[in-house]
């Protein structure tokens, strides 16, 4: 537990910002994020989020040691936040009770079965969820109940991403954008998350903001059911 003087000292620069202040900083501290994945999007997202003072984190990866490694970076960045690493099978046991632990869930798993489980669970529990991914020179974040009713966008989960220095910039941009987007959400949570698809194309240096198509007959969005 951080004392008041240390809290003020650590977050003084953010408290000075009109859009945050002391009230907003406390909101961030009381907020929690469930993060699925540890890829190149998650790393900048996690480090900026931890640095900003989002107070509680739950991290899951299919390989637990990756999640543990990411969590250990939080201690270096901001030891006042709490990070819990969950075992990979936690989502298979009871995904609904897991998503309910958090103010918002971030899915960067790039795994269709996990995405589908999360979409249904978040819809049933009314937990906000944002998905993020990248393929080649394009990255995106999707703020919608599920990624399955979108038709042509975003690109489907891809074959393995090639980690060249140029490709590494795309997840870096998306992870940073995601951190700011989640901080904005936690500071002023809307009653309902409006559908939004933000995409970034590196080789054209362009951002695109779209309202994604929501399929009224999508089984995940409009007829959620327990998948387990």
């Amino acid at each position: 537990m951080i004392n008041q003087a240390s809290w003020m000292e650590r977050y003084s620069r953010q408290i000075l910002l009109p859009q945050i202040g002391g009230v907003g900083q406390k909101k961030l501290g009381e907020s929690s994020v469930g993060l699925i994945g540890t890829n190149s999007i998650c790393q900048p997202f996690f480090l900026y989020g931890v640095g900003a003072g989002i107070g509680k984190w739950g991290v899951i990866d299919t390989i637990k040691s990756r999640a543990t490694e990411l969590a250990s970076q939080a201690n270096l960045r901001n030891p006042t936040v709490e990070v819990v690493v969950f075992p990979p099978n936690r989502l298979k046991r009871d995904v609904e009770s897991w998503v309910k632990l958090f103010s918002i869930v971030i899915d960067a798993s790039n795994d269709t079965s996990i995405q589908q489980q999360l979409a249904s669970a978040c819809q049933l529990t009314r937990t906000p969820i944002i998905s993020a991914g990248y393929q080649g020179s394009t990255g995106w974040l999707l703020q919608a109940p599920c990624p399955f009713c979108l038709g042509t966008t975003p690109p489907p989960p891809s074959a393995k991403n090639i980690d060249t220095p140029l490709d590494a910039m795309v997840p870096g941009v998306i992870g940073t954008l995601l951190a700011q987007h989640v901080i904005n959400f936690l500071l002023e949570p809307p009653k309902k998350l409006p559908p939004l698809l933000l995409s970034f194309t590196a080789d054209r240096s362009t951002f695109l903001s779209q309202r994604p198509y929501i399929d009224p007959n999508c089984p995940s969005c409009h007829n959620p059911k327990k998948i387990n």
């Binding site: 003020m8 000292e9 003084s12 620069r13 408290i15 000075l16 009109p18 202040g21 002391g22």
Partner: protein, 75 residues
């Protein structure tokens, strides 16, 4: 002058001078007035300006011994 709260920031340095005043004002209600005791120099130059930038009403500083007093009203 009767005010609703008092804070002494003479032991603080930038940016904690304004941080402490801002946090105190966030706890107060609209229309209430905070008395701020501060040093001359940098705090006297920057704290009132930062408060005005955030739409607080700030009085002219009054001399208080070696320090100054500001009266800040939350709008």
């Amino acid at each position: 002058m009767n005010t609703d709260a008092f804070i002494d920031i003479t032991a603080e340095h930038c940016p904690m001078t304004f941080v402490r005043v801002k946090l105190k004002l966030e706890e107060m209600s609209k229309g209430q007035t905070l008395t701020v005791r501060l040093n001359g120099g940098e705090p006297l130059k920057n704290v009132p300006q930062s408060l005005k930038d955030e739409n607080y009403s700030v009085s002219k500083p009054q001399i208080d011994g070696n320090c100054f007093l500001l009266f800040v009203t939350k709008n």
